[in-house]
């Protein structure tokens, strides 16, 4: 048990990671502290899961999430199997998620890391398998490990999460990282503002959950109205691949871009986060400024996923 936290490490053992809603504040704090410890002693978890097998089943293409899980598993000493996208796998032949999970279960996978274009795919996989399932993104629904990476980035920048004003900007409707981050932040004393045109505003079920938790997010349509008040600006790209109607995409594309002009009235201490990849919504002119925190944020993905795999599979240390 970590000092001041009311949970034990056994709560992570063989646990599914499907939704950020399934974790309490102390769970997040436990993970963040463990990541901090790992960053202080970078080799401390190397080889901790030797002999275990991670099946990375990415039904949607991925670069950074796949790579970070792959490298994390390998650093822990695990063997890695699976696929990084549908191309070249049996998915193109029409194999179902169900059959794929059952097959890799038979091959002795100790953990599944699943990305899928369908909302709820990870929940379904967890239902049909006793092997722990980590969601690496399911459609527009959630990306819980990204939310942990995001929390870590915020904590690293400010030394705390409580008391901050967090703005989430962009495609909140079809983006899965912002819903997971909103769920995770609802464990903290933060002020959340969703900044998006109406067509891309946060989904009703997310607002519903937050409201039931006693969190009342603000809604704004333009960054300029709130930029000066924010401590954290979380920017997301428009999820072109998830917007069902191409004409809807044409209407919203290019509607926002975060650049120096847009941040003219922002606090000097503002940190801009982005789950990456970026397209047009985040100008490269921010890269060299004190606002840019997104590359530091991305770097946290590897140690965080190492810690998570280690906690779930009971590697100790």
């Amino acid at each position: 048990m970590q000092v001041g936290l009311n949970i034990s490490v056994s709560e992570f053992l063989r646990r599914d990671v499907i939704s950020a809603r399934d974790f309490k504040r102390d769970h997040f704090e436990y993970i963040l502290r463990a990541v901090e410890d790992l960053e202080k002693s970078p080799g401390s978890l190397d080889g901790a899961l030797r002999g275990k097998l991670a099946a990375l089943l990415f039904f949607e293409p991925s670069t950074r999430t796949y790579s970070s899980f792959q490298i994390a598993a390998e650093r822990l000493g695990m063997k890695v199997t699976g696929f990084a996208g549908p191309t070249g796998s049996s998915i193109t032949k029409g194999e179902t998620l169900h059959d794929t999970v059952k097959m890799f279960e038979g091959y002795g996978a100790d953990v599944f890391v699943i990305r899928h274009n369908r909302m709820g795919a990870a929940s379904f996989a967890a239902e049909i398998s006793d092997t722990p399932v980590i969601s690496a993104g399911d459609g527009s629904r959630e990306h819980p490990t990204q939310a942990m990476v995001d929390l870590y980035a915020i904590k690293r920048a400010f030394g705390r999460i409580d008391g901050l004003k967090v703005g989430m900007l962009g495609d909140l409707r079809y983006g899965r990282t912002s819903s997971s981050l909103a769920y995770a932040l609802s464990n903290y004393d933060v002020e959340i503002t969703f900044i998006a045109p109406e067509a891309l505003q946060m989904r009703p079920e997310v607002i519903h959950f937050l409201t039931r938790r006693g969190v009342t997010p603000k809604k704004e349509s333009a960054l300029k109205d709130v930029a000066r008040a924010l401590d954290v600006l979380y920017v997301t790209r428009i999820q072109k691949e998830r917007i069902p109607d191409p004409t809807e995409f044409e209407k919203v594309k290019g509607m926002y871009e975060v650049n120096l002009e847009a941040l003219r009235e922002a606090k000097p201490s503002l940190k801009v986060l982005h789950p990456l990849p970026r397209v047009d919504e985040l100008s490269a002119e921010l890269d060299g400024t004190s606002y840019a925190h997104y590359f530091t944020q991305a770097a946290g993905g590897l140690p965080l996923r190492m810690v998570l795999l280690n906690l779930i599979l009971g590697g100790g240390r």
Binding site: G94, T96, L97, H98, H116, N117, R118, M119, G120, A121, S123, F124, D138, G139, S140, R141, R203, P204, E205, V206, H208, F209, R242, P244
Partner: protein, 162 residues
């Protein structure tokens, strides 16, 4: 059940079957839809359905009644119907004896409602997933177990699997 008399239609007493009573007036068609009574035709069941609309009621002022002769409506279907019309009462008739069933709001509904979110895994072709909704009783909402989509009790007829 229904016979053509000389100049009028007769609705006889049911010997075996189900009577759905206290339906809000002019809503009998929705009841037929939610209870999937059209499946009786597909199954070529020896059953007949009579809908009585806008009849006087002490309790509701006006009401509809649906009588299903020769068929016992599934209790789970009646429970789903009660989400839309909480006032309904269900009477099962067996060998002329009437037993009342008071529909209740279920905690979960499996397989009977299609998720309106097309991107939900429960709508994936060939995946062996059964749709599952949790009921949020106080808010009169259903929530998809897979994609979290919310639908109101009142919109259930739009999403019932037929």
């Amino acid at each position: 059940m229904a016979e053509k008399g000389k100049d009028h239609l007769l609705v006889n007493k049911i010997g075996e079957g189900t009577v759905i009573d206290h339906i809000p007036d002019w809503k009998a068609e929705t009841v037929v839809q939610v209870l999937r009574l059209d499946k009786l035709a597909r199954m070529q069941a020896d059953a007949s359905v009579a809908t009585l609309q806008n009849v006087t009621s002490g309790k509701l002022g006006r009401k509809d009644i649906v009588k299903v002769d020769g068929w016992h409506v599934d209790e789970k279907d009646a429970d789903i119907l009660s989400l839309v019309f909480p006032s309904i009462t269900v009477n099962y008739i067996e060998e002329g004896q009437v037993s009342k069933y008071q529909p209740k709001v279920p905690d979960t509904i499996e397989g009977r409602i299609r998720c309106p979110e097309l991107g939900c895994i429960s709508n994936a072709e060939r995946e062996p997933v059964v749709s599952r909704f949790a009921t949020l009783k106080h808010e009169r909402l259903l929530q998809c177990r897979y994609c979290d989509t919310l639908i109101s009790f009142d919109s259930v007829p739009d999403h019932v699997r037929t």
